[in-house]
Structures are given as C-alpha cells and as structure tokens.
Symmetry: C2
Subunit: 290 residues, 2 copies
C-alpha cells in the first residue's frame, strides 16, 4: 500500500490513477502538483487529491511514490525540480507515451546515476479529453500498462509500480525502451498523425464547410483522436521522432502503393488488400472482446 503518492500533472491520466487508487483503498494520501492553481483546487474539490502544491520540491517531500503525468517536453524540468527533495527510497515513475526521451531527460538531471527507484512506465489508456474534470476511476480497468525498467531500476521499485497499476485495474507488461517506442509509434503515434493530417487536409479544402456537414459516423470515429491535446502530441512527435519518422515513411510508401493500385484500377489487388486488412482487424477486435 502507498502511504503518500505525489502526482505531477493532475489531468486525465494522473487524476484517473489517483481516483482508482483511492477507490481501491490502496493509497493513504495523494498530493497533487501542477502549474495552474485553479486546476489543483478543482482536483481537491473533486476529491481526486487530498492537498496540493504548485512547487514540485514541496510536493514530492515525504512521498513514497511520485508519478509524472506531464507532457514529454516538461519531464526534464520536473526531474530537475524534484532532485534533492525526494525520499531516499522514493519510487519515481511516469506516464509518458515515449520512453527513450524520458530516460534521456532523467539522465540529463541525475548525472551521477539514475535513482534505483526510477521505473519508466506508460499506461496505454486515455481518450481525446484532457484535464482533471475528465478523469475517472475506471480508466485503467482492463487496459495495459507497459513498464520499461532500466538496469539501474531496483526490483523492489518495479514491483511497487507494477502493484500500483494492477490496483488501478490494469495488466502490466515489461519491455525494452526502444521496443516500446517502436511499437507505440506504430499503434498510437502514427494513427494520430493520420487523423490530424486528414482533418487538416479537409479543413483546407474549398468545400470544407459542406464536407464536415456531410461527414458521418465513420468519420467521427476515425477522427476522434484528432481532438487530442495538441501540446501533448507535439511533444510526442519531438520525443519519439526517430521511431515515428520510420513508421510514417513506411506508411507513406504503402499508401503510395495503394494509390497506384487505384490509379491502375487494379480491382483484384485492391480487393486482396482490403480483405487482408478486414481479416486482421476483425481478429484484433475478437481478441479484445475475448
């Protein structure tokens, strides 16, 4: 059980974890930390955190677990602000969508060696909303959390982080940092680029008003992720640039092949691709549901 948990960035991700752990009775006290006092006050009103500070050094004091749930570009300054104020055995984890960049941010701050309590992590959960108002205790139920323990990570710290996410309802996997970043580039970062790109293409068209008026349910589903927080996604692009670029280039090449088949009116080849994609997608949904 966690005595005191500090959550830096009390939004959808951090707020939902706090709610889940409180509901599970797994956490004595939650301290919220962020830049906007009004948001933190709201988090107290909603019962998501017990108290707050806008000062990271103060917020982490006495905590056995610290979660960073801030945009990737803010990780380094957060590490810097907590340095020297952490409990000796504090466990530090994060919820960033790319892991190599978080490790690099930690290394830039903890130059004498990473703390044994540091275990990078990534809950594969969330929706297009943001802010503490959108947080809810069930967000992690049945979802996956990937931990990418480092050589410096103590096994006790890994177990603490694993148990915390399990208490929130998630299944916990472990993988290597680079592997995580490649897989996430494909499953999450690329789709976001495609959805942002599609909306942007349509917005710039002469008939954009009409296009959005006539777009139906499929379009709504397809572009839901284009309503995600622009700052978070800007940071993901920069932080996971190498893996994202590789998969974007691969996708572009595949899309060009598809375009060429349309150009050639090659119905057989198009039908085969669509059939293969449908089969794979249907299998994926079956797995999710069973």
């Amino acid at each position: 059980m966690i005595q005191q948990l500090t959550i830096i960035g009390v939004g959808l991700i951090g707020g939902s974890l706090a709610r889940a752990l409180k509901q599970a009775g797994y956490c004595q006290a939650v301290v919220g930390c962020g830049r906007t006092e009004a948001e933190l006050k709201r988090a107290v009103e909603l019962g998501v955190v017990d108290r707050y500070s806008t000062d990271i050094a103060e917020a982490v004091q006495g905590s056995d677990v610290v979660l960073l749930a801030v945009p990737l570009g803010a990780m380094e300054s957060c590490f810097r602000a907590m340095q020297g104020h952490l409990n000796a055995d504090a466990v530090i984890t994060d919820a960033g969508s790319s892991k190599a960049s978080v490790v690099a941010a930690a290394e830039a701050v903890f130059v004498e060696g990473l703390p044994a309590g540091f275990v990078p992590g990534h809950p594969i959960a969330g929706n297009e909303q943001s802010g503490v108002e959108a947080s809810f205790a069930e967000l992690y139920q049945g979802r996956r959390v990937i931990l990418t323990p480092l050589e410096s990570s103590s096994s006790a710290a890994v177990e603490t982080v694993r148990a915390m996410w399990q208490q929130a309802g998630a299944t916990v996997d472990e993988m290597a940092v680079d592997h995580h970043d490649e897989v996430l580039a494909a499953t999450s970062h690329l789709p976001h680029m495609l959805a942002y790109g599609l909306v942007d293409t349509l917005v710039s068209m002469d008939e954009s008003e009409e296009i959005f008026r006539l777009a139906a349910g499929g379009f709504r589903d397809f572009t839901r992720i284009a309503s995600s927080d622009p700052v978070v996604w800007r940071d993901i692009c920069l932080a996971n640039r190498t893996a994202l670029l590789a998969i974007m280039e691969r996708y572009q090449a595949d899309l060009e092949k598809l375009t060429q088949l349309v150009r050639d009116a090659d119905g057989d080849a198009l039908g085969e691709i669509f059939q293969r994609a449908k089969s794979a997608r249907d299998r994926f949904v079956d797995q999710l549901e069973n």
Copy 2:
C-alpha cells in the same frame, strides 16, 4: 405511400430501409432480390421482406419503387436485368457511394434515354457490418441522404424517393453528381483508404502480433471502417477513381509536409497543425450534437 417496393441486395442498407418503411407503415409489400437464396429466406424469416425472387426481372414486376443496394460493380448488370420488366411509371433509385458510375451504368443499358423514374441516391449511413442480419430499422434516423437528380429525372420521381427516405427518418439533400463524388471521396472514401492502409502496414510488420495486442481503444475506433466489406470498397475505388485519386494525392502531399515537420523537429508548426485540426474536429462534433 408505396404499394410494392423491390429491394435488390437485401443487406445492411437495403434491409434497414425495408425495416424502417415497414415500421412506419409506409410500404404495403417488400420484394427482396439477391443472388443467395439462403440470405433471402433469412430476410423473409426476419420479416424484412414479404417475398423474394433471385430473378431481377421477376422481382421488379409490379413494383412502384425499385432500390438497388448492391456493390457498384453490379449496378450495370442489375439495370440490364430489369430493363423491359419495369412498370411504366416505376421509380428507380440506388444506394451507391459514388454517383457518376451509377449514371454511366444506367446509360450503358438505357441507351434510348434514361427512364424519367430514375433518381440516383446515396444514404450517408451504414457501419462496418454487412448482411441482412445486421440490418435495423433505425439506421437512417437523423442521417443524411443525398439525391443527385438528373435532367431526365421527373420531379414526381424525385419527390417519391425523397418522401421514402424521410419516412425512414433521414434528412434529404440534393446535389450535382460530380460534386457528390468529390465530397464523398474526401469524407468517406479517403478515410477508408487510410484505415485499410494502416491495418495493412501494421500487419506486414515483424512485430504485428504484439502491435495488435497492444493497440488500444483509439486504434479500434480508428480502424473500425477497415472492417467494411472488401468487395463494396474495391468497387468504390474503381467507380469513384478520379475523385478518390485526386484527394489521395492531396492527402499524401499534406502527410509528406507533416512528415517533414517531424523530420525537422519543428514543434511550433506541428503544434499549430494539431491545434487547428482539434478545433475543426471539435466544431464538427458540436454541430453533430446540436
């Protein structure tokens, strides 16, 4: 009110219209027509149609309205099969996702001039499922149907088709054939290509098993349309090839710009695009909901 409606292709689209009109008490009798007798028998069992024939000439006899709800590649042979067997004042419409190709198919058959009763149409509704089992009476509630009346279309026929869709719960718009095909290429056909393309890219990766296992809810929404009927979508690619190619090429150019911004690590420009897309997408959803 319709005395006898023939539906050629009793699947999700055709079956749902039959159900809706029966529920509204707007149609005395529905005759189903298709190639697979077992499917037609099932449609009778489900109460979707009153009787059926696998022979188009027989199925259209005596009907005041005929709806073609078949893949675009099957339109011409359907027109050919009904020629000479239609009531003199029969109204003929279709549910095809591209309109120029349906008009061309009709022109190839009715070489002496298109029937005054022919009014091309397109219900902007459906989901990734297919078949009569998936049909339901509410599919068209609050959805849009676009009619693209031709110079040859009588105003009485246009009114009949309009009233039919309104009885099924839809709002009916009219637009020119080419304009329809351009707008639909952007709002529907392009997103399907992107989703099919994404699933196909991921399937071909070494880590595809793991990728699909770790893909979360956003991916599921994003790729729902990749579970659509491959034959229907092959035909759409061929039928709306010109408009689809134009928008695919435009999208590719925009995606290349986005890729270049990632390559350049241009966070400001990326953030601006994401913000603009989010705003447009949020406005779109607000409009849908209000």
